[in-house]
Amino acid sequence: MLFPTFGFFYFFAVVIILNWFFKKWPFFWRLFLVIASYYFYFVWDFRFLFILVGVSIFNFFSSLAIFRNFFGRKKFFLYLSVIVNLSVLVLFKYYEFFRASFESLFFGIGLPINFPLLEIILPVGLSFYILRVISYNADVYSGKITEMPLFLDVLLYVAFFPQLLAGPIMRAPEFLAQLKDGGSKKIDNLWESFTYIILGLFKKIVISSYLVLNITDDVFSVPQNHSRLVVLLAVFAYSVVIYFDFSAYSDMSIGFAGLLGFKSPLNFDRPYLSQNLQDFWRRWHITLSSWFRDYVYIPLGGNKKGPLGKYINLIIVMVLAGLWHGASINFIIWGLLNGLGLVAVHIYYDYKKRKNLYKTENNNLIKKFFCWLTTFIFISFAWIFFRSNTVGDAFVLIKTIFNPLKTAEPIQLYVILMTLVGFLFFIFEKQIFQGFKFIQEKMPIFLTVIFIIFIVILIFKMSPDTIPSFIYFGF
């Protein structure tokens, strides 16, 4: 089920009623949420459910072994759990990539070995819940979880439906605390949750879908058939698309979880307003970058191994983050580009620190604007590798931007308009959000109810006849 579908709204209407009905009995409430989440996942493909349940059960026992320090070998169980979880991910996500690569490699050295051909389907959301369970085991190991959670709690942590398919990647201590004694007995931020849902709907089914269908999909698959202006527009439109698509999912996830009484971590903090790449990665897909920081970068030694060690670690982390998105060279290049960018920023700041130049820094508007522009162009450029089907396609696209022969082609005015609206949205997102929330809070309740329904209808009115799937479902 996708969030912006009516099927989901019906499902959620039933869930929200029963969620608050079962609140009085914490056990049944958890059981109900687990069943609801499993149904939500089952609708995609019943086979996926077996994997989800299998992973959950395994991780309950592995965490138990770590928590109780079985045979005095909790470290062994931690490694075991990481290896098993990663193997599941590798099998489903990277098997085809490795099969083809290894066959070519062995063929090259004169050993024609054939691996079995498995028509493997990547279960949707797998990449996200594997990260969740790995961090859960690590948190049990490091003592961040002081009380062994119940079996149902672990099942719910792995499968909680608002966050199951594409995050935010919530940490276990944070989530499990919210399950205690039947969780929150109230909806903390009613209007904020609705604002998240409505803005998420708007971002996804009006702006992102429209741009995907009318420009980015076409240009990124056959860039050579387009003029440089349109290709350039598509590159910037894709920056809009990926942010709106993904942050829309996160927003809706936060909103729906909020209506069930859960608090979710923030996943995006107006990332395109960043002044440098380091800042960007603190604001973009926050739960993923902080996951990589805490469970990869810091265990690798972080910034404690001297500047060179730090730079190498940064590049390793970014390449791994790229690879997490998918098994292909473009994601590796995308990660590498970001890694190198980050290293450049770090070198610059390290240099400043050494020379004690911080005090003399003047932050005038022009400099800020220049920093913002460079960062934004760099990020948009890196997205080219992220979005293109192959590395070859990415280079063709870049070449097309510099092709002097074809300058203009017919284009829908709406596409330019939507891209501009997207840019304005980046800048004023906070104000729009607050304004929206303010209207709902200040109006009489019955008017607010009518207002929300009116807005939802309006959003569906403006939607295209096809809604493309969320980009991050593919990861």
Binding site: F6, L117, I121, K186
Partner: protein
């Protein structure tokens, strides 16, 4: 706030949230019933979703209520209003080239064309071949050659646009498939290496050219179809790239997800194709339909006119195919109709086989239509469905995506090769005919 009011507020908040959701699921699907029915046709693999089924039933029920109460007039008008808003104006529209310039360009291009004909191995060979038949002496050769080329140019000028443009296309096409070339090939050690990249051949414009002219010399291709031709189906963009690589072509692609010839109430290809012809002026059209057509046939208003599986279904469906082919014939457009590949689901595969039969039969009735079977291309050695197929080096590669219907990039490339070969074959035949015709004229 006192404790009591906080509790009261919490109680109210939960109720308000529930009420809003109940109202949303009652009001919004009623209002948006048309869109729900359209979206429902697009969702795949959600068979276990009782909620979606329920929404669909409710939407159908809402549509009925709207019809009975006369509300449908309002909703139809409203739907048109929003469609108009979404039909945004197009900017950067290129202006047609003025006529004066055209004539000058034509003359220049004819000169260039003759130069190229002289240099080109294939034309030379054709000429030699013809000379061999005529058994002329050496002195006559030069004179004859001049005559031949000028006559070729003349003939070309009088021909329809498609045949003329052949020459633009010839080189890459012949490179792909020169086995079918019936012309005897001499081993000429000084073979010129093909056309210069930016060639400007003589292509006088016929009356087909309208307002949108991208490239006067180019052969215009149009690719249309369902999700296979849209992004994600795995074929449309691969074909588009292949056609672009022929050089000197313009390509436009129009793929609509979940569309077909069964449900003109959702998307009416039979009238859309007329608009597209008017807009893009194609010479060649590549078509693929049918993956969503194993369902009841409706008219434009959504009333069922033939149930799937009956005899009347086949004849009505064939009529719709015929209608498209008729339009293309009237406009002098050559159509390459790609059949559907074998599918993983056996029942669906059977449906597709039937559809392919209809396309093949109808294409045979038209001189300008060519059916391309892709069934064998995407089947394994035993003729069964296989997600993996061997590439030229004998390596297994994934050809189908997880739905067992659509194609991976590799699968798309296999089908594209089939389509390219067919186009090459047809263009070659046309060239041979043209050369023989010219040779006959010259010999008289």
């Amino acid at each position: 706030m006192s404790q009591l009011t906080v509790e009261k507020y919490n109680f109210i908040a939960i109720r308000v949230a529930i009420i809003i959701f109940i109202l949303i699921i009652i009001v919004v699907p009623f209002y948006e019933s048309k869109k729900i029915i359209i979206w429902q046709a697009q969702s795949e693999g959600q068979g276990y979703n009782i909620f979606s089924s329920f929404v669909l039933q409710y939407a159908i029920f809402s549509e009925e209520i709207k019809k009975e109460t006369g509300l449908d007039l309002f909703f139809n008008e409203e739907y048109n209003f929003w469609s108009k808003i979404k039909e945004s104006p197009i900017i950067f529209q290129q202006n047609p080239v003025p006529e004066k310039e055209n004539i000058q360009q034509d003359e220049d291009q004819i000169k260039t064309f003759i130069e190229i004909v002289k240099k080109d191995a294939i034309f030379n060979q054709a000429y030699n071949f013809w000379l061999g038949i005529q058994k002329r002496n050496e002195e006559a050769k030069e004179e004859q050659f001049k005559k031949l080329t000028s006559l070729l140019a003349d003939t070309i000028k009088k021909q329809t646009r498609f045949d003329i443009s052949l020459f633009t296309e010839l080189k890459p096409v012949l490179e792909i498939n020169n086995q079918t070339d019936e012309i005897q090939i001499n081993d000429n050690p000084e073979k010129p290496k093909g056309y210069p990249k930016q060639n400007n051949l003589a292509v006088p414009q016929n009356n087909l050219v309208g307002t949108k002219v991208n490239n006067l010399n180019a052969l215009n291709y149009l690719i249309v179809g369902d999700s296979f031709m849209a992004i994600g189906g795995g074929l449309g963009d691969v074909v588009e790239k292949a056609v672009l690589s022929y050089g000197n072509t313009t390509v436009d692609r129009y793929g609509v997800v979940s569309s077909g010839l069964s449900r003109p109430d959702y998307f009416d290809w039979n009238s859309e194709i007329r608009k597209l012809i008017f807009e893009y002026k194609p010479n060649i059209i590549i078509v693929m339909f049918g993956a969503n057509d194993n369902q009841n046939l409706t008219d434009k208003k959504g009333n069922i006119i033939a149930k799937y599986g009956g005899q009347d279904w086949t004849s009505e469906y064939a009529k719709r195919v015929d209608d498209i082919l008729d339009v293309l014939k009237e406009n002098n457009i050559n159509v390459f109709w790609a059949g559907l590949p074998i599918m993983r689901d056996k029942w669906f595969s059977g449906c597709v086989e039937n559809l392919n039969l209809i396309y093949e039969n109808e294409c045979q009735k038209y001189q300008n239509a060519y059916f391309i079977s892709t069934w064998r291309t995407l089947a394994d050695d035993k003729g069964n469905y296989s997600a993996y197929l061997k590439d030229k080096e004998g390596k297994n590669k994934l050809a189908r995506i997880r739905d067992g219907i659509h194609l991976t990039y590799f699968g798309g490339a296999l089908v594209t090769e089939e389509i390219s070969n067919k186009i090459a074959e047809v263009l070659n035949q046309k060239l041979s005919l043209l050369l023989i015709k010219t040779a006959t004229i010259v010999s008289k």
